[in-house]
Symmetry: C2
Subunit: 237 residues, 2 copies
């Protein structure tokens, strides 16, 4: 008995279709510069403390720039032992707004890759984070029409992908997910029996680097650029 | 030719199925008390200024408690001309977290009303706001299994309801929306040709009170309690 053919291709959005993490990284660099007026930030304590706050708050805030901004404010107040001025906290708030306002910049070659794949397969965009911000980015990307469905979810885990397979009435083995995060895009899909194409991005958020996927998994390929996706896909055919 | 029968019933969530606005109102009362140490808040300027900030930020933040918290912080810094202490801003941040953490309290009689309707019709829950917060509330409500689909959307307007009708392959005239907001739940559905059952809540957010629906619209009923929904629905049958 041969495996059923691939039916549906999922694309991650942030850092797969368009730039995202670098805007967060830039905000955090400017944040550390602001806190540098109050603290010795050489020892990376600020970065680690912010990450600890974000990790603690994620069950309340979920993912996205608004939650990051609230966590940045909370950490700034705590680390400066309430010494930080309202003016500097206003600057931190503006850093968060700048992340929400950044224009959508597609990654080179990605539009072509999505167009080619959409001619041959059903496609779905699956992104997690802030509903409002993600919707705006999808709209501005000009790629919406290439996807049969846009799924904005709060977490990309086993239950989320399981629900997706039920909605599309497919088996996991008929699904390929393409994305930059081994943790959110590749590992859960592969655990369920599907396929993953990992396309690394230059920078990854620390909380996205934790995963338990073995190297050289037979249902995973890594590609370095969008033009290589089609060949990787053909290997799963 | 008779009208096609009602096929799908939509329920709003916040202030229709469970309490919500009063937690926001309470946070804002405590917020005004904090600012009262810096300003004369007797003349309601704080409330109006916060509303102006929220209105300006809504195109960046969308709806929900995280955006409200960021707008409260921004307004506090501006109104005090940067005099507010980091300690007081930390208290404002905690007010926002408290809204996100409040337990879900179903409105009296609503579970029974939804159960009765779910026996006779397909039902969908349609709520706007923060994806992560809304998902948690839906889960905690214990009502998820009564709905065929849970739709968390960024705005409840004509395009959103139009897309819903397409997804469910129904005409607007086969849909009834039940909710507390004339602006978000009733007016857009009625404009498209559907029906609305308005169940007012004790308190409504100022930005939700603006609507253009005429009084005594023939496809709208107002009910005062969940047990009256079934009779109103029968009038559309």
């Amino acid at each position: 008995m041969t495996a059923p053919p691939i039916q549906l291709i999922g694309f991650d959005a942030d850092d797969t279709l368009w730039r995202s993490q670098e805007y967060f990284d830039q905000a955090q660099a400017e944040y550390e510069a602001i806190l540098g007026r109050y603290l010795d930030v050489q020892n990376h304590t600020v970065h680690q403390q912010l990450l600890a706050t974000e990790r603690r708050n994620i069950k309340l805030f979920g993912y996205g720039a608004k939650g990051m901004t609230l966590s940045m404010l909370e950490t700034a107040i705590a680390l400066t032992e309430h010494r930080i001025s309202a003016s500097d906290l206003a600057k931190v708030l503006e850093l968060g707004k700048a992340v929400l306002e950044h224009p959508v910049e597609l990654l080179p070659g990605m539009r072509q890759a999505v167009e080619d794949i959409a001619l041959r397969f059903d496609t779905v965009l699956i992104t997690k984070g802030d509903l409002f911000h993600q919707e705006r980015k999808v709209r501005e990307s000009g790629l919406s029409d290439l996807f049969r469905r846009i799924e904005i979810v709060s977490e990309k885990d086993l239950p989320t992908y399981t629900r997706l397979f039920e909605e599309f009435q497919i088996a996991a083995a008929q699904f390929v997910m393409i994305g930059n995060s081994l943790r959110s895009d590749i590992e859960p899909v592969v655990r369920l029996g599907g396929y993953g194409i990992h396309i690394p991005y230059s920078t990854t958020w620390a909380l996205e680097t934790e995963h338990g996927l073995e190297a050289d998994h037979p249902r995973v390929r890594q590609v370095q650029q969008p033009s290589d996706i089609a060949a990787a896909l053909a290997e799963f055919g």
